[in-house]
C-alpha cells in the first residue's frame, strides 16, 4: 500500500453547478451500463442547457436518446425500462414541462412499488426556477406539486458539491426521484468539489452556516440569498443559522427541529409561491413539534401568489430578496 495519498482521492477542482451535474451523469454512466438517458435535444445538440454536451459522442445514440416532444411517453417509457432492469435518467427541457408528464409521474411511477413491491429506479431531471427573464412558462418552481406525492423523492441541490453527490445518490436510488436543478445557478455558482466519486444522502438536510439567534430554512437558489442575509445580520450582531433542505420530500425533520430547538426562531425562505409551498409544511412541522422551543412566529419569505412575470421590474419584484429576509430577521429580533 502506498504511503502517498492517491492524487484522485484528494483532488478538488473548481466546478460550476452545471458541470457538477454533467460530471455526475458521466461518471454514473461510465460506472453502470444499465443507465441511459432520454430527453429532447440531449443528443448532438447537447441539451437545451448543454448538460449532456459530448455525451452522445462518448456513450452513443442508444444510451443518449433524443426523443420526440412527448414528455408523457418518455416518462412512461422510463417507468417500463426501470421495471425491466434499467436505470433511466430523463431530462425535461424545463421543469415547467413536467406538467405534461404529470399522470405518468404521480399515477404510474409513484404508486408502483407500493402495490407490487417492484422497484422503479428512475431519475427525472428538470431545470427549474426563475431569475432568467424567462416568463411564466420557463421559470416555475414546481417542487411543491410533487412534494405532496408519496412514492416520489424530490431533490433540489443548492451547491455544486451537493448537485454532484445528490444526483449520484438519486441515480443509485431504487425509487423515482425528481431532481430539480435551479437553472439560475447553472453558470453562476461554482466551488471546489472532488473530481472523484462521492454521494450525498437523500432526505438529509445540511446546516450550511451555524448560528444561535434564528434559523433560515431554505433550499436551491435561495440558499445564496439566505447566506447573504445571514452575513448582513452578522454585521448587526445577529447570529443566523442557515439550513439547506437539499431534499424537499421526504423532508429531514430532525435537522429542522434540532436547529429550531437551538435558535428558537425560524424563517422559511423559498422561491416557490407562498401558499402551500414547502414553507407551509415546514412551518406546520415546527408548530406541531417544536412549539415550546419557539420565541416568535414562524415566518415565510416566498414569492407572491401569482404566475412568474417576464418583464425585469416585475420579476425582480416577484422574487424573494435579501431585503425581504432582513425584514423577517428584524421582525423576529423583536421577540
Amino acid at each position: 500500500m502506498s504511503t502517498q495519498p492517491s492524487q484522485s482521492q484528494d483532488e478538488q477542482k473548481e466546478t460550476l453547478f452545471i458541470d457538477a451535474i454533467s460530471q455526475a451523469l458521466w461518471e454514473e454512466m461510465e460506472r453502470d451500463s444499465s443507465i441511459f438517458m432520454m430527453g429532447e435535444d440531449i443528443g448532438p445538440y447537447g441539451g437545451a442547457f448543454k448538460v449532456t454536451k459530448g455525451f452522445i459522442e462518448h456513450f452513443g445514440p442508444e444510451r443518449i436518446i433524443d426523443m420526440p416532444i412527448a414528455e408523457e411517453a418518455y416518462t412512461g417509457m422510463a417507468v417500463g425500462a426501470a421495471l425491466t432492469g434499467m436505470r433511466p435518467v430523463i431530462e425535461y427541457q424545463y421543469a415547467d414541462f413536467i406538467s405534461c408528464a404529470w399522470d405518468q409521474i404521480v399515477n404510474v411511477a409513484a404508486k408502483y412499488h407500493y402495490r407490487t413491491r417492484e422497484a422503479v429506479p428512475m431519475v427525472m431531471r428538470a431545470p427549474s426556477g426563475a431569475g432568467l427573464r424567462a416568463g411564466p412558462f420557463h421559470s416555475q418552481s414546481p417542487e411543491g406539486w410533487f412534494a405532496h406525492m408519496p412514492g416520489l423523492k424530490v431533490v433540489m441541490p443548492g451547491t455544486p458539491y451537493d448537485a454532484k453527490g445528490l444526483l449520484k445518490a438519486a441515480i443509485r436510488d431504487n425509487n423515482p426521484v425528481i431532481f430539480f436543478e435551479h437553472k439560475y445557478l447553472y453558470r453562476r455558482l461554482k466551488e471546489q468539489i472532488p473530481t472523484d466519486d462521492y454521494t450525498v444522502p437523500i432526505s438529509k438536510a445540511k446546516v450550511h452556516k451555524e448560528g444561535t439567534d434564528a434559523t433560515i430554512i431554505t433550499y436551491a437558489a435561495m440558499l445564496q440569498v439566505a447566506l447573504e442575509a445571514a452575513n448582513k445580520a452578522q454585521e448587526k450582531g445577529i447570529s443566523v443559522e442557515v439550513v439547506d433542505l437539499r431534499t424537499i420530500y421526504p423532508l429531514d425533520k430532525e435537522t429542522i427541529l434540532n436547529s429550531v430547538a437551538k435558535t428558537s426562531k425560524a424563517i422559511m425562505l423559498y422561491e416557490d409561491i407562498k401558499t402551500l409551498g414547502i414553507g407551509a409544511e415546514v412551518s406546520a412541522i415546527i408548530a406541531e413539534e417544536a412549539f415550546e422551543s419557539l420565541d416568535g412566529p414562524v415566518l415565510r419569505v416566498a414569492s407572491p401568489d401569482a404566475p412568474i412575470p417576464y418583464s425585469p421590474p416585475l420579476e425582480d419584484y416577484f422574487l424573494p430578496k435579501v431585503d425581504d429576509v432582513m425584514v423577517a430577521i428584524d421582525k423576529l429580533s423583536a421577540y
Binding site: P68, E72, A73, A78, G80, M86, N107, T116, K153
Partner: protein
C-alpha cells in the same frame, strides 16, 4: 427459446379453450359475488372478449411482458396468473399480488411478465414501450405487448407511445380491443376513423384488424406481430373488433346498448365459436367439454374458498412499501 408455432397443435388449442372457459367462469363468479355484496370494491369484466384477451397474450413467450388494462384480467391467465390470485386480489387480501393495496384487476407480477396497471388509460402503452426499449438496449429478443380499449385511443399517451415506439423501432405490439363502447360512449362519438387500425399509417407501422371473437385469428394476428417485433421489425397495431357484453363496471346495467346489438353478438360468442371449431377438428365432444367445464368450476370454487379464508392485511400495512429499499 421455444417459440409457439403459428398453427397451433391440439394441446395448445385445448389449452386456449381451457383458459377461455376459465376466464368466463371467473368473471361469472365475480359478477355473482359483486351482486351479492361480497366484494369490497368494483368489478370490470371483459365477458365476450375472451378470444382477444387470451388469444393475443397467448402469443407471448416466457420473458416477454404484457401490459393489460383494468378489463383484461383474462389476458393475464396465459402469463400464469392463477385463479386464486385473481380472487385474492378482488377480495383485497394480504396475500394478493398487490398485498391489498391495489384494486380488482390491477395486479401483475413481472417475474411472470405482467404489469400491474393503473386506471388512467392507456398509461401502460408508454410503459410497455419502455420495457421494449430495455429489451432492445440489452440486445434481448423479448417483446412487450400492451392492451387497451378503443376508448383509450383518444388519449395523448396512446399516440405518443406508438409514435415513439415507431421512431425507435421498438419490439412492442399494441393491441386495441374495440368493444364498441367507452363506458357509455359509442365509437361514433369517440372517433371519425372507420377503424382504429387505420391510425397505424400515421405512425408508419402495420395496422391489422382481427375478428375479436375468433380466437385463432386473434392468436395468429398477435403471433405474427410478436415475431415481427422479436426479429427487429418494430411495432404493430392490432385492432380486435368485438363487443363488451356487460356494463362498464359491475354497477352498470348498460341500458344504453340496444338489446338487438347484444343479441347479435351473443350469436358470435367466442367460446361457442371456438367449441364449434374444436368439434369440427375432432378435438372436442360433449364429454370432453363437460370435463373442461367441471374442472374449471372446481378450480374457481377452490379459488373463491381460498380467497375467502385468506386474511386481510393489517391496517398499519397501509403505510408500508411506499418506497423501495
Amino acid at each position: 427459446m421455444q417459440v409457439k408455432p403459428l398453427e397451433l397443435g391440439a394441446k395448445e388449442l385445448m389449452d386456449i379453450y381451457y383458459l377461455m372457459r376459465l376466464g368466463r367462469a371467473i368473471e361469472d363468479r365475480l359478477n355473482l359475488l359483486y351482486k351479492g355484496g361480497r366484494l369490497p370494491g368494483a368489478i370490470y369484466l371483459g365477458t365476450g372478449q375472451e378470444a382477444i384477451e387470451i388469444g393475443a397474450s397467448y402469443a407471448l413467450e416466457p420473458g416477454d411482458v404484457l401490459a393489460p388494462t383494468h378489463r383484461d384480467m383474462m389476458s393475464q391467465l396465459p402469463r400464469g396468473i392463477t385463479p386464486r390470485e385473481v380472487f385474492l386480489q378482488h377480495y383485497a387480501r394480504a396475500d394478493s399480488l398487490t398485498h391489498g393495496k391495489g384494486e380488482d384487476n390491477y395486479q401483475g407480477d413481472l417475474k411472470r411478465g405482467t404489469f400491474a396497471t393503473v386506471s388512467m388509460l392507456p398509461d401502460f402503452y408508454p410503459v410497455a414501450a419502455g420495457a421494449a426499449l430495455a429489451f432492445k438496449l440489452r440486445r434481448e429478443k423479448q417483446v412487450a405487448m400492451a392492451y387497451c380499449g378503443e376508448g383509450a385511443t383518444s388519449v395523448g399517451d396512446w399516440h405518443e407511445a406508438i409514435n415513439a415506439a415507431s421512431v425507435l423501432n421498438l419490439p412492442v405490439v399494441f393491441v386495441v380491443i374495440n368493444n364498441g363502447y367507452a363506458y357509455s360512449t359509442p365509437v361514433y362519438k369517440e372517433m371519425k376513423v372507420a377503424n382504429v387500425a387505420d391510425r397505424a399509417c400515421a405512425y408508419s407501422i402495420p395496422g391489422v384488424i382481427v375478428d375479436g371473437n375468433d380466437v385463432i385469428e386473434c392468436y395468429q394476428g398477435a403471433k405474427k406481430a410478436v415475431e415481427r417485433a422479436r426479429e427487429g421489425g418494430g411495432p404493430t397495431l392490432i385492432e380486435a373488433k368485438t363487443m363488451r357484453m356487460r356494463g362498464h363496471a359491475g354497477h352498470d346495467p348498460a341500458t344504453y346498448v340496444a338489446k338487438d346489438i347484444i343479441d347479435l353478438w351473443t350469436k358470435r360468442d367466442p367460446i361457442v365459436r371456438f367449441e364449434n371449431y374444436l368439434t369440427e377438428r375432432g378435438l372436442l365432444d360433449e364429454d370432453k367439454k363437460k370435463e373442461v367445464i367441471d374442472h374449471v368450476n372446481a378450480t374457481v370454487e377452490d379459488a373463491v374458498n381460498y380467497a375467502e379464508q385468506s386474511p386481510y392485511p393489517e391496517g398499519k400495512e397501509a403505510t408500508e412499501d411506499v418506497y423501495a429499499a
